[in-house]
Symmetry: C2
Subunit: 247 residues, 2 copies
């Protein structure tokens, strides 16, 4: 399988790769003129590209006409995750990207144990982790990690932009398959799904009410209590399974 790289510099049948990826291809992989790689524009279009030259920390290509990336799921899923302790957010990002999430939005809420600290700096690292995961698993887009939302009210105010908001709550709710079967995307768009899961402390009852008022549907995850780093990935795998994107 040829190597895959993301670059936005693709136009008129040529493309350029720069920086660490160019270094990787030229020095680590020791690519030669005429070798072929796959370039992805980060917008779900891929190109078969042939190396035509090596510059100073850049590689030039001739590209064939683009084709849609086969790796993107038919639904656009945003993971809204309560900010967990330790390195659990990194696990959610890494595995969430593999499982097909398009956006990851951490948030602080009533029972969060973690507190905001150097979030701009951390956000850069989180986006690097997302980009690495996207490259490794062969995504057609670069999923993004947002800066954390400051409270649960801010989370609820984003709900209007989704076709279906799944609020994962211990106290249970409708089965996922029924909610997915009833959800309809806007004309010609992918179905936009938000998965909302809590941090270690879970959600306050008032937050659950607030979510329901803002249009979220409560889903139960069964009788076993999932950890805060497991729940978003389990629901994501469920959604991908039920929409035919994990087969």
């Amino acid at each position: 399988m040829p190597h895959r790289y993301f670059t936005t510099e693709i136009s008129d049948g040529t493309a350029t790769l720069r920086g660490a990826d160019a270094h990787h291809l030229a020095r680590v992989m020791r690519a030669r003129l005429g070798d072929t790689v796959i370039l992805c524009d980060g917008n779900a279009v891929e190109y078969t590209a042939t190396i035509t030259g090596f510059g100073d920390e850049c590689v030039a290509f001739r590209v064939e006409p683009g084709y849609p990336s086969a790796a993107e799921p038919s639904v656009e899923v945003t993971l809204l995750a309560g900010y967990p302790k330790q390195d659990k957010l990194e696990q959610i990002i890494k595995h969430g990207v593999e499982l097909g999430a398009a956006h990851i939005v951490p948030f602080f809420s009533r029972y969060c144990v973690a507190a905001p600290k150097k979030e701009e700096q951390k956000n850069e690292r989180y986006n690097r982790i997302a980009a690495e995961a996207a490259k490794q698993c062969g995504r057609g887009i670069l999923p993004d990690v947002a800066l954390p939302l400051a409270n649960f009210g801010a989370v609820c105010r984003t709900f209007a932009q989704y076709d279906l908001v799944l609020f994962c709550y211990e106290c249970g709710g409708a089965p996922l398959r029924d909610l997915l079967a009833a959800a309809k995307p806007a004309d010609g768009e992918k179905l936009k799904i938000a998965i909302v899961t809590g941090a270690e402390g879970g959600f306050a009852a008032e937050e659950a009410e607030m979510a329901a008022k803002a249009g979220a549907r409560t889903v139960g995850l069964g009788p076993r209590i999932l950890r805060c780093e497991t729940a978003p990935l389990a629901v994501l795998a469920s959604v991908m399974t039920l929409t035919g994107n994990l087969e």
Copy 2:
């Protein structure tokens, strides 16, 4: 929610808790005579238990008649996982137990990077991790972690004991929902499912052939390449979703 502990010492309306759990209940939780906890026999039967006495590192209870644990899934899933590097097997165990796996069996195969080392000692630790996860997520049984099988031939020789063996292979295969719909359990038993996933290096083509000959069904996990610690958990979540055990 009352605290839950596992103990096998339950008979004639009384029960005893010993060791670290007794210490936890008596010293850390500062329980008192008459307080109520849930005891689980590790065989999916639970008891409401009232403390009747504290001994030297043990706690005595009066128990009400047992009732079946609501936390056990309707399918019995064994994760057969290629032995990964670093702490990834621990992640598979921890999250696999949460998601409802009954047994976890690591194995070595052609492309495994990890090599056997102090496995008896590690196995004790793995089983402790499984037991901790079982307690935390409220399981009704204590899922077990087997000593690693030495090669893929040994893995294939276990296939006869399952109703359905799902061999997860990059090259794709039948959708999981179709395989699950066609599988039938033995009379009065739970459906026994094995999920077989590779280590970092994946499977050799000969191993895939060997698995198919031994009765495994090949399943594809979609166009994104899942990491070796993500694949077993994603398939487990899929199986639990499709069998109604994650809702």
